[in-house]
């Protein structure tokens, strides 16, 4: 069987949902596929309140943002078709994408594709890092906040970025003892407000430390930590053991980019954005003029910026099919203004630098 659509959105997280909502609201016939049973992407496991910007979801919990986006999708029935449990598995040269649901394979003929595949979690090399009980922060959040099950009784957190800090707090809320937080850098990576929260609850934070090994045979029973020098090399004779029954890795994310490569989009490696990303202009269009990108796949940030990038992509994809639209222009202008605010200040410095490089490189091709 085959399907036809004007705008085809891959991924039902904050970026994909926002792109689909905007494209459909403006009047494009839109199809969205997501490979999980529930829309919302990573938002469905985020119980913390977002900082956001004053006019976009500030102070709202991730789970509530997901519900809000799903309600908007529901209201657009007729113009926006959603297929859950359906994965996009391949781009073909004639503007077709293969999609796979539980028992069926179909092809989607699209005019514009907006690819919002998100990211995959990074791992860390240490002895026994494959033992049951070593999890990524995403897996921990799914188990605890979606299924209502603690990952263990005592957990060691590795990584002090915002995800490591926020998930540590969520673990404490769920009744898990966080036995320590390990960070290779000499300073905490995430916002101080999150770090202070877990510090006040008595969680020891080991900066300039690393995990050398997970201890155990069939599951985690502890970990060996050590101090590191300024070149991140373990300092001899500073090793010590810590007892825990699970270890959570929150050591960053890498954009999921396979589909862009299949669609022949030019890629660029930008460390500040998490690795290889498709080159794209300020309207989120890649070097394949029929393919747009938004969300973590365009560079690792967070849900609010993913929503805004999605709105820009949806508006521009619509315009490329139906001509200039004042409403679309307004959506883009508002989103760009909010992004500027969100990426301002010292915390947004790396992202600003990375995004400027994307625009410079795309201008050069």
């Amino acid at each position: 069987m085959s399907r036809k659509t004007e705008v085809f959105v891959i991924g039902g997280g904050p970026a994909g949902l926002s792109a689909a909502i905007v494209a459909a609201e403006l009047g494009a016939e839109t199809l969205l596929v997501d490979d999980s049973a529930k829309l919302g992407g990573q938002l469905i496991k985020q119980t913390h309140r977002f900082f956001g910007s004053s006019n976009r979801d500030a102070g709202i919990r991730g789970i509530s943002i997901a519900s809000k986006l799903c309600k908007d999708v529901e209201n657009l029935k007729g113009r926006l078709t959603v297929l859950k449990n359906t994965a996009a598995v391949g781009f073909y040269s004639n503007n077709e994408v293969g999609i796979l649901s539980q028992n069926a394979y179909e092809r989607v003929a699209y005019q514009r594709a907006i690819v919002c595949t998100g990211a995959t979690e990074n791992s860390l090399a240490f002895e026994n890092n494959d033992l049951p009980g070593v999890y990524g922060a995403g897996g921990v959040q799914t188990l605890m906040n979606v299924h209502g099950i603690r990952p263990g009784h005592k957990i060691l957190m590795v990584g002090s970025g915002n995800i490591g800090l926020i998930v540590s707090y969520q673990l404490i809320q769920a009744g898990v003892e966080v036995v320590g937080l390990v960070e290779g850098l000499p300073t905490i990576g995430g916002y101080l407000v999150h770090a202070s929260k877990i510090r006040r609850l008595g969680v020891p934070i080991y900066t300039s430390h690393t995990i050398l090994q997970a201890i155990g045979e069939t599951h985690v029973e502890g970990a060996t930590l050590s101090r590191v020098d300024e070149r991140f090399q373990p300092v001899p004779n500073t090793e010590f053991e810590i007892k825990c029954d699970c270890i959570c890795l929150a050591v960053g994310l890498t954009p999921l980019i396979d589909l862009f490569q299949q669609a022949h989009c030019r890629m660029v490696h930008i460390g500040e954005l998490g690795g290889l990303v498709p080159l794209h202009d300020s309207g989120m269009k890649t070097t394949n003029p029929d393919v747009y990108v938004a969300g973590d796949a365009s560079g690792i940030e967070e849900a609010t910026t993913a929503i805004l990038g999605g709105r820009i992509a949806g508006a521009r994809a619509y315009e490329s099919l139906h001509g200039k639209s004042e409403k679309a222009d307004q959506i883009v202008a508002e989103a760009k203004e909010e992004l500027k605010t969100l990426r301002s200040g010292s915390t947004g410095e790396r992202i600003r630098w990375g995004r400027e490089r994307v625009l410079k490189e795309v201008g050069a091709c």
Partner: protein
Amino acid sequence: MSSLRIEAHPVLDFPTPKKVKFFFEGKEYEGYEGEPIAAALHAAGVKMLRRSPQKNRARGFFCAIGRCSSCIMEVDGEVNIMTCITPLKEGMQVKMQKGHGTIKP
């Protein structure tokens, strides 16, 4: 040790669906209907879900979203089932699969 099930949470409410019985390696366990098989096993304290085919390393729950294949098991005779996204049903027979498993014709 107390249960791994979250009974009270400051932000979230977890519904308590119907309890069902299932079997892991022939032994009877209890879980909630519709939750992932791997989640039910985790809550019951089962950490090792299989051993790796080549180096015989313990494998357990990992990504929780059907990506990594760490949790593949034999369910009702069918091998390579991603148990972290397969809903639990009454009476399921769940087993650690041997090696890559054998696909039945």
